[in-house]
Subunit: 331 residues, 2 copies
DNA sequence: TTGAAAGCGCTAACAC
DNA sequence: GTGTTAGCGCTTTCAA
């Protein structure tokens, strides 16, 4: 910057004004400064500026998701990026892999780089440590799961309701023996979806059978093996509600293994790509991931703009799309 | 930091030593400083440090991909993140949407935040502007597509060879009327894959028919419509090579529309999820995306560590997996 | 083993 | 309109 000032025969402050498009600089000087910038290949250092600037903003946010490569996380990322881009903000992203320690490490790494805000899918069951970041002025937003040990803005799907609808859908097609198969029971979304399942079952005066509730699977293969076991037992269900995308894929494979794809009904939660191309096409309850990301980013930026109203808890509606697998009738 | 120094009754430099785990500080002082850090909720400011540090490194890299939410990009991102994490480096990521202007904007945005390196899937056909960043000490690595107007380390798939193998696979099953359907012809990977297709066709002494070459589709739907047109023409092919994942999905849908899934052979390039669950299962040539990302990140970090040997051009092998759709014989 | 002073690149505050 | 000076949070250099 000093070199640019020298070359254009002016001062640091004038260069700063030109770089930041402040007015009060003559057209001629602007021209000279811009020339010098091009000739020298000067790139402003935003971090250095943030150090001195009054608001201290780095125009940077951090995103902590389960796994940046899974479709849910990356769709979220993309939606957030879109809003951030419109404000000249760039996005750090990292995967937590359900590891609370990793959550803290990444938070620290982002904090050390002075992100203005953090959008977090909590992995651990204690986010109280984030109070320190909040005090330092970092805006916080929780998405997909609520935080523990701290309150803050939260954007969730209507998990319980979506699962309730899915289960009701199966009940309305005459099923009474409906299995639930899900992810780790400790994950908020899993617990909510199980609650929705139970609510629908109870409302239909069907007894909740514990052997119909399979939980703790984080890979498609685990779910496949477990469901195959239940389907070959003497007390096999006539319908299955799979509460997460990997689990749904496992369920589809289990039904194929046993040639039950067309005789046992299946409704899944979460999107799976090409659900319409499978045989039978898969009936799914899907989250509006783009809307979640967009609302989350907008709310975060509103906070950064000074909105200090009460914390908001936003719920984004899920949608059931009937495609075939969920409309199979009990034998 | 000043507050920490005051509270622990020592100086800035000692706090700096403790924060950076430098030795030459008495155990007792380390203890006192750490206590003060916890009590005050102090977070070191890495950017401020980078400003003064000799190497100027921010422990940050930038990733520019086509679309952060597509499976190829996000798998790349994840593989890079993994390597970065092991070095305490965090990753900025952004989508270019095939927009050269966006490429320049994001590059500038990352440069303004002083990333140590940039991993780029070039969108435009001129990367010469990156010479400025390189001069400023930013390491550059190109992935998936080579740069133009500048040379540098590059990690690519064996696109031409993979397409050659895919086409040969169809030829070896007796096909002579093989259509090619692909993405924008201007994208490097598309051009390479078309070249591989043509090479295999020519080697088999089959004339290359221009009406069998469909290009310029960037969505599944566009590809579907175009292929449906060709398949219903009087000169319909008996096999199709789809050179990209979205295009492959469009091709699958076109074949379904016409009930040709089991009579026209199909080999796709790129992974599509659940290829094994479709009917027929889809024969695909897949890229080793994880290996691409890993090699790319490792090479970038080697450069940051001072490796100044000649630029490397790495090719990662593709793999053909026969699953059914590619083994259908011509009628 | 510890600390004082200078300065990284930039903007704020204020003077001219 | 334009420039000067101080200082953001940190590391370097060098002295004690």
């Amino acid at each position: 910057m000093r070199e640019v000032a020298e070359r254009s025969g002016t001062s640091l402050k004038t260069v700063s004004r030109v770089v930041n498009a402040e007015d009060g600089v003559s057209l001629e000087l602007i021209e000279r400064v811009k020339e010098a910038i091009d000739e020298l290949g000067y790139r402003p250092n935003l971090s250095a500026g943030a150090l001195r600037r009054n608001d201290g903003k780095t125009q940077t946010i951090g995103l902590l998701v389960e796994n940046i490569s899974n479709p849910f996380s990356s769709a979220l990322h993309r939606a957030i990026e879109e809003v951030a881009r419109s404000r000249g903000v760039v996005v750090f992203a990292g995967s937590l892999d359900e590891d609370p320690q990793r959550e803290r490490e990444l938070t620290e790494a982002f904090a050390a780089r002075r992100v203005d805000g953090l959008i977090v899918v909590p992995a651990g069951n204690d986010q109280s440590y984030l109070a320190t970041e909040r005090e330092a002025g970092t805006a916080l937003l929780f998405i997909d799961r609520p935080p523990h040990g701290l309150i803050g803005d939260t954007v969730l799907s209507t998990n319980r309701d979506g699962a309730y609808q899915a289960t009701q859908h199966l009940i309305s097609h005459g099923h009474k023996r409906i299995a639930y198969i899900g992810d780790y029971a400790t994950i908020h979304t899993g617990a909510e979806r199980l609650a929705g399942y139970k609510k629908a079952i109870k409302e239909a005066n069907i007894p909740v059978k514990e052997n119909y509730i399979l939980q703790g699977f984080h890979t498609s293969e685990e779910a496949r093996v477990a469901l195959r076991g239940l389907l070959t037992s003497s007390d096999a269900p006539t319908a299955v509600f799979a509460s997460q995308n990997l689990v749904t894929l496992g369920a589809i494979r289990a039904l194929r293994d046993l040639e039950l794809s067309h005789s046992v009904a299946l409704v899944g939660f979460d999107d799976i790509s090409e659900a319409d191309l499978l045989d039978p096409p898969v009936t799914l309850v899907t989250q509006d991931v783009a809307a979640m990301g967009e609302r989350a980013a907008e709310l975060l930026f509103a906070r950064l703009d000074g909105d200090d109203s009460d914390y908001l808890h936003i719920e984004i509606e899920t949608t059931l799309t009937a495609r075939g697998s969920g409309e199979i009738l009990p034998r």
